[in-house]
Amino acid sequence: MSNLFELLKQYRDPVLARRLIDRIRALAKRLEERVLIMHVCGTHEWTITHYGIRYVLPENIEVRAGPGCPVCILPAQDIDTVIDLALEERLSVIAYGDVSRARGTMGLSLEDARSLGLDLRIVYSLQDAITIAKRESNKRFLFFGVGFDTTCPSTAYMVLKGPPSNMMFYSCYRYVPPSVGWLLELKDLEIEGFITPGHSGTVTGMEPYKKYFDRNPKPMVFSGFEPIDVLISILMILRQIVKREYKIENEYTRSVRWEGNTIAMSTALRVFKLEEGLWRGIGVIEGSAFEFKEEFSSIDARRIYGLEKPLKEDYMPSGCRCADIIIGKTVPTECPLYMQACTPQRPIGPCMVSVEGTCRIWAEHRVLSQLLRH
């Protein structure tokens, strides 16, 4: 009997890691100048921090986190809207994990709103949400859909199947490829290469990135989440830079394909259309928001209650540098609030609220400064 679990363990092989690191160091020496690589997935930041990858990278290679955290880029106004709506219309809100701790424009989170009478339920999957709604048929539920293209398709599927009649949806799902396009256009940050997201990429496929790549060719490598995956991806990017031959490559071949998961994406696009969307700390990005199509108006809370989606620059707490951290302009240790006023137990900015936020990941790993560099 084949055992893929055994095989996957090799993606943590110390011997292979050592050789990859040696190779990375050899290439970095040839490059001399500083190379900034960006990834756009909280889970990549977790792997990098958890395995101490920055510690083994050469001085001139830096990997920064981009906007890879759906709760971090969730507009503050949307949080306000959901809270107001739920309290006014006596709806029970169902949300995934961290969403409940993200703060709105006045610093109020869904969790805080419990003390104002908000009925909030945390779930880990849509199936749980449906179970709750079916079980409590006397209540009306609002499903707060926060996530990227990775998460969106399952919601779409459930909508097509016919959700419980007492459930409506508030969609804040975001589509990732345009955000990478946006980053590619950033002038004041010299990103030399991208580690593109492994699971979002599994769903969307590599193809949607082509048009952004064609406009601004830079190395792009779709990477898995084991430490060996990330090391190989960094090596692949450096090889492209040394050769000066840029392309879109795939390291995570066991999951990512050029065309992606067409069943999942087509399901998502039967229910949603892609429109402009606000990303907290960044601004409006064209074609990046999953909005319900007209025919699904009856379950679209925005349409039912005539709610405007926020399109203006969003709110960050004063002193908080999440907006810069999210686009890799700076790192958590440069924020004056990091681990002082802003901690995982008392988060101020969205990057600390979410388990996928860069600040939160660094804080939980006690990354205090660059002191642990080789």
């Binding site: 095989l7 996957l8 909280g42 999957s125 996530g147 699971h199 040394v242 999951s255 388990v355």
Partner: protein
């Protein structure tokens, strides 16, 4: 690892309609995994994110990647060739 973005590999042990029972190793078996957004059969490995399978994992590709890079590193060791 953080719960949200993450995809966990698991083996499909049973499929009933839209949902499958998936074994994640270590004794963790979850049923109620939405399986309809991939083309999977019992015995396949899948990546599961937020309660649904997002792709069938290719064991062949998992193996190939390791072999490929081991051999590249082997042949390049000691040289500066790219």
């Amino acid at each position: 690892m953080p719960q949200m973005c993450l995809g966990y590999p698991g083996r499909v042990i049973e499929i009933k309609g839209d949902f499958a029972k998936v074994d994640f190793g270590g004794g963790v078996i979850k049923d109620n995994i939405l399986i309809s957004l991939v083309d999977a059969k019992v015995g396949d490995y899948v990546i599961v994110h937020a309660g649904y399978a997002i792709q069938v994992l290719s064991e062949e590709e998992a193996r190939k990647t390791l072999e490929l890079w081991r051999s590249i590193l082997e042949s390049e060791e000691g040289e500066e060739r790219v």
